[in-house]
């Protein structure tokens, strides 16, 4: 599928693991990403879901958007709970108390639940080599509690706990490189994805589930509420993030890097930043700093892919 601007419903799997009617905000990129992930994963899955937006908006009584066995964990323990589920399935199948149906376990969490409070549990699960797919839906802040910065919040972004003002430039630190941390565990499959590239994302989810052992997919999920962007721009913003090199799409199979969407030349980061309220305070110098960083990181990534 070369032309990523085409999205044809009839060429995607008809299964909908994530039902409509949930209470996500208008233009929620994460809900779209979850829908694509569950579409790709099919029906034979069990989901462990951390506390966060997706848990809250998808499970308000009396309804649930989840059409598979689904467990809400805490904030910090998703990967550990998923480890338990996966191990239990293995034991039951080994003892013949459950037919081997190839059921896959998917752990889902946001960027806070992955790169901050859940990092220890994730590292443990990857190191123990559980056969599970961990998907981080990264909307770049704690959106569920009202837009607080996380270690995945990009440099310069204004949040309620990294407010831009006279004494503060917004987020002072650079976004934590979670995929690199996952790669460092020597697991069979790591990838980045974005809901604005649906076929690329679904392919990666399928690959992640197919490997024997742990897989990690980091999905940029546009959040109009937290990014202060227009809800109708969510898909567009995802593309701009990729086209500007801010969030490159690649995969790492058995340690080998490969860009799945190779952009050349990159758009200026300004195209991506300028439509988001969280970046509106940025000075030209800060934009230049961000551009320099993005250019450098993209070059390094290309070298890894060579």
């Amino acid at each position: 599928m070369k032309n990523y601007s085409i999205y044809a419903a009839r060429v995607t799997p008809p299964v909908e693991g994530f039902a409509p009617g949930h209470r996500a905000c208008i233009g929620c990129g994460e809900a779209l990403a979850v829908r694509l992930a569950t579409k790709a994963a099919g029906e034979n899955i069990i989901v462990a879901n951390a506390t966060g937006c997706m848990e809250v908006v998808s499970t308000q009584l009396p309804a649930s958007a989840w059409r598979m066995p689904w467990i809400h964990t805490l904030f910090e323990n998703t990967a550990a709970v998923a480890s338990g589920v996966e191990s239990a399935l293995k034991v039951l199948e080994r003892k013949g108390r459950r037919p081997a149906k190839g059921t896959k376990v998917i752990a889902m969490a946001g960027d806070g639940g992955t790169s901050d409070i859940g990092l220890q549990a994730l590292s443990g699960a990857l190191e123990r080599y559980h056969d599970l797919l961990y998907i981080c839906f990264d909307n770049e802040a704690y959106m569920n509690t009202g837009i607080q910065r996380s270690s995945s919040t990009p440099f310069g972004a204004s949040t309620t706990t990294s407010p831009a003002g006279k004494k503060s430039i917004g987020q002072r630190t650079w976004k934590k490189n979670m995929p690199a941390i996952a790669v460092a565990h020597n697991i069979p499959y790591v990838a980045t994805a974005c809901h604005s590239y649906p076929f690329d994302m679904m392919d990666k989810v399928k690959k992640g589930l197919a490997v024997n052992g742990p897989a990690y997919i980091h999905v940029l999920s546009v959040c109009p509420t937290g990014w202060r962007s227009a809800p109708d721009l969510s898909v567009r913003l995802g593309r701009l993030a990729v086209e500007s090199g801010v969030f490159p799409l690649y995969e790492v199979e058995d340690g080998k890097y490969k860009l799945t969407v190779d952009i050349s030349p990159l758009r200026p980061v300004q195209d991506y930043l300028s439509t988001q309220g969280r970046f509106r305070h940025l000075s030209d110098d800060m934009v230049k700093e961000i551009q320099a960083r993005v250019t450098k990181e993209y070059k390094l990534l290309k070298e890894k892919c060579a």
Partner: protein
């Protein structure tokens, strides 16, 4: 606002904001936190205000780290605080124990929500009262305060800092979602009208300093890292020099003092509010938001001619055992409304020791009591 970032005057603030302002007024210049409903607004307000007063806000990766950073900041010489709610409070417990063992002044605010587990994140509860007392492992004593309004959240956060400096331990402000999200008038006095307890510094030169030799009130002075005093701080059982000593005797001496420095000073620490206790047949014993709801029931009961007193815990830990026992002699019953399945009611019952009945009015959380249920219990108690 003054050039130093201090504010004073009358404000319309939420309890969370009042708590943050109280901390700033008390001299808090370090906040380490992690977002959690319904305490997030405290972190947000601190992230906004601390830079203005020359302080530091750090958002940590979780509550374990938040509490640990607060301990570190306190040893680094700053007045430090964190704020959280039930799940985060649980995660902080081991580090709170470390703070108790190291005798580290700091303040922990718990905006209680309905639990267990994730429970009702946006709705009120009082289910962590026993966790506040016993949540960390090992024997210890603790100080916990319970404000009943945004103004009291301001006042008691200052008091919490003062107590933490005076007795050298983490002091807990056990509030609730309902107070944290309640907007009311809050008066912030000018700086000079606020009573602030400074850190008790050693009055001996560095070569003579032993970090855990207590003063007469059982509390040792505290040197700050970087002031020339070199000493050892450890969560292991230690002697007066701060070095680990693995004996039952050292354990006995240390832990006894850690408990006694609170228990023997309990009369100076405990603060309660009483109204109409004398001549009462029944006394409503409550705290926090439940005490506010109870006042409605008490007024209605009095209108019916029932002699009912009000006993409000402002300090919940240490618990005013002696005063409750004394009151118990002259009344038929205590009525204890609380938003849990009976926690402080157990203390009331223990203190009353059979002299008066204890009638618990539990509420599982997510809302406050209907005053009618409290009134019914009052009527029942005087029958």
């Amino acid at each position: 606002m003054s050039s130093t970032g201090q504010i004073s005057g009358e404000f319309f603030l939420s309890g969370d904001e009042a708590c943050a302002e109280g901390a700033l007024a008390a001299g808090c210049r370090f906040f380490a936190g992690y977002p959690i409903t319904p305490a997030t607004e405290i972190a947000e307000h601190m992230s906004d205000r601390l830079p203005e007063v020359g302080g530091t806000y750090i958002q940590m990766e979780d509550e374990l780290a938040s509490m640990a950073a607060v301990l570190g900041a306190s040893w680094g010489g700053l007045k430090a605080m964190t704020a959280t709610s039930g799940p985060g409070f649980s995660l902080m417990m081991e580090n709170i124990g470390l703070g108790l063992m190291l005798e580290t002044p700091c303040v922990v605010v718990n905006m209680q929500r309905a639990g267990p587990s994730t429970g009702l994140p946006t709705m009120t509860g009082q289910g962590d009262m026993m966790q506040a007392r016993w949540g960390s492992h090992g024997p210890y004593s603790i100080i916990a305060l319970s404000p009943a309004s945004p103004q009291e959240l301001f006042d008691l956060t200052i008091k919490a800092f003062n107590l933490s400096e005076k007795y050298r331990l983490p002091v807990l402000v056990m509030s609730e979602e309902s107070i944290g999200h309640m907007y009311e008038k809050v008066t912030i006095p000018t700086r000079e009208k606020i009573n602030i307890t400074p850190r008790r510094k050693p009055n001996v030169p560095p070569q003579e300093y032993l970090p855990y030799v207590p003063d007469d009130d059982l509390v040792p002075p505290m040197a700050i890292a970087g002031e020339g005093y070199r000493f050892h701080v450890t969560g292991l059982t230690h002697d007066e020099r701060g070095y680990p000593i693995m004996t039952a005797e050292a354990q006995d001496k240390l832990v006894r003092r850690l408990v006694d420095k609170i228990e023997k000073n309990r009369n100076a620490i405990i603060e309660v509010e009483e109204d109409g206790i004398k001549g009462a047949d029944v006394v409503v014993c409550s705290y926090g938001i439940s005490a506010r709801v109870a006042t409605v029931a008490i007024q209605r009961a009095r209108a019916l001619g029932i002699r009912v007193g009000m006993f409000r815990l402002i300090t919940v830990w240490p618990f005013p055992v002696e005063r409750v026992r004394e009151i118990a002699k002259n009344i038929k019953a205590f009525v204890v409304p609380e938003i849990n399945y009976g926690q402080m009611a157990l203390e009331v019952e223990r203190a009353a020791a059979g002299r008066a009945k204890t009638i618990l009015i539990p509420h599982m959380g997510g809302a406050v009591h209907d005053p009618e249920t409290i009134l019914d219990a009052i009527k029942q108690a005087v029958k």
